[in-house]
């Protein structure tokens, strides 16, 4: 336990020193929430649809940008190899990293919620319990993608290219920032192939208290991604 807390504290400090996540996982979602709040201020239904979408911005930043970069970087700098000659498994370091991105995601969720509720009078129509459950599911799924990208990329350069290809389109077109509802149908169809779009559909359905039947397909997709990516990263992870 002492190992875990020391690693978590140190790695969190290092991550905060990097500033990237503060900007992309903490500030950006709050800013987007403020903008959407102003735009949708007099329309509680649209606001309620925006909250779950915006709450995934940090998951997306951490999962497909933060995790792949840090993992491939730690392999390239041989930090994972260094852990192999200590009593502690390098897998613990990976776990610590996923915890750090979980912290960012949860802090972001809380701040986005406070912004929406304090300034724009947002109330979650659905059940919080279901929402949290869906949030965790989406997080696991997105983080598993990041773990796979970081785990199998031969170097940080390739990891960062793949991360950018995944991150920017999902940030813009999955509905996390630009509302899915305002997109023309062909664009919506294209956006549907992105994992995060499916994740946001699940979050929207539970937060708007809509029947679960509409999102069965999304649930299957998200769960499949989580299982497949986790299995592949366990099988093909390169420690050095």
């Amino acid at each position: 336990m002492k190992v875990f807390t020391t690693l978590l504290r140190t790695e969190l400090k290092l991550s905060l020193r990097g500033m990237d996540m503060i900007i992309f996982a903490i500030c950006l979602p709050v800013i987007v929430m403020v903008i959407l709040g102003i735009v949708y201020g007099n329309n509680p239904e649209n606001l309620a649809a925006s909250f779950p979408a915006v709450s995934t911005i940090a998951i997306c930043a951490g999962g497909v940008m933060g995790l792949p970069l840090v993992i491939s970087g730690y392999r390239q700098n041989k930090i994972l190899k260094r852990f192999k000659v200590t009593p502690v498994s390098p897998a613990l370091l990976l776990f610590v990293q996923t915890m750090i991105y979980t912290i960012y995601s949860v802090v972001s969720l809380i701040l986005v919620y406070l912004t929406a509720s304090i300034f724009f009078g947002f109330r979650l129509p659905g059940s919080w319990l279901q929402f949290i459950g869906a949030f965790v599911l989406v997080m696991i799924s997105m983080f598993s993608i990041g773990m796979l990208v970081g785990g199998v990329s031969p170097n940080t350069k390739i990891a960062s290219i793949i991360a950018s290809i995944l991150y920017f389109p999902m940030l813009i077109f999955s509905g996390a920032t630009l509302p899915y509802e305002v997109m023309p149908t062909p664009l919506q169809k294209a956006a549907d192939i992105m994992p995060l779009t499916q994740g946001i559909k699940i979050l929207k359905a539970v937060s708007l208290d809509k029947p679960i039947d509409n999102i069965i397909l999304s649930l299957i997709i998200i769960c499949t991604i989580a299982i497949v990516c986790t299995a592949l990263s366990v099988k093909f992870f390169k420690w050095e």
């Binding site: 140190t10 990097g18 970087g73 190899k81 000659v85 200590t86």
Partner: protein, 239 residues
């Protein structure tokens, strides 16, 4: 029982044998030097001994344990300094020490070690911003954080000035007197003569000499270890 023992370690990459029939035995309290020119297979040997690479055949025991299958238990008692730097961007000296300390049950106080190595004033500095010599000292220091029974040092004094090298040698000699077993890789024959009890010289993956320093010189046509070493490694000796 030897502290480090390898039997017929062999490793090849892409059809090329980089280490063949590597047999060594290092006793407790001994300083053992692994020598060889660049590409002679030293790094592969260390990797196979520590279990960071899997040998094609042969066995390794450190403190009687298999480094691959009994890693957790073994590395409580083993300190390692790799040739290259393995640390996080933006990490400070004290953070790196603290993190390393957290990995072991029994540790030496890193603050005392920082003082001993003259790095105390640098404890708040970013590791990346240290000079080459300071970094090198820090990496030796990290290997000494666990209360180890054996330590592996890969090119421990590369980049250090004369004074700093002497300081580190003295530290190691003291540790040796206390029974620590030291496995080191070095390119400096003065260092080898000052520290090593036994040495092993690698040439193209094969051991061409194994024994103590005096023997190495006596069994060669030369009078200094440096010339003897060059002779064993098949290099031209120019005096």
């Amino acid at each position: 029982m030897p502290v480090i023992e390898t039997k017929n370690l062999t490793k090849s990459f892409g059809g090329k044998t980089v280490l063949s029939d590597f047999n060594i035995s290092v006793n407790q309290g001994e300083v053992f030097g692994l020598l060889g020119s660049n590409g002679a297979g030293k790094t592969t040997a260390i990797d196979c001994i520590l279990g960071t690479k899997k040998p094609d055949s042969g066995t390794v025991r450190i403190l009687g344990l298999n480094p691959k299958t009994e890693r957790k238990k073994l590395f409580e008692n083993v300190g390692v300094q790799f040739q290259e730097l393995h640390y996080q961007d933006k990490i400070t000296v004290s953070e790196l020490c603290e993190m390393t300390s957290a990995l072991y049950h029994n540790v030496n106080d890193y603050k005392r070690l920082l003082l001993e190595f003259g790095l105390n004033e640098k404890s708040k500095s970013i590791v990346n911003e240290l000079s080459g010599g300071q970094k090198q000292k820090l990496f030796v220091l990290l290997a000494l954080i666990p209360k180890a029974k054996v330590i592996f040092l890969d090119e421990l004094t590369t980049g250090l000035d004369t004074k700093a090298r002497r300081d580190i040698w003295n530290t190691l000699k003291k540790l040796k007197e206390n029974g620590l077993t030291i496995f080191l890789v070095s390119h400096f024959m003065d260092e080898v003569e000052a520290l090593c009890d036994n040495i092993c010289i690698l040439k193209q993956g094969k051991i061409v000499f194994s024994g103590n320093v005096q023997n190495a010189i006596q069994s060669s046509p030369y009078k200094t270890l440096e010339n003897a070493y060059l002779w064993y490694s098949g290099e031209e000796v120019t005096e």
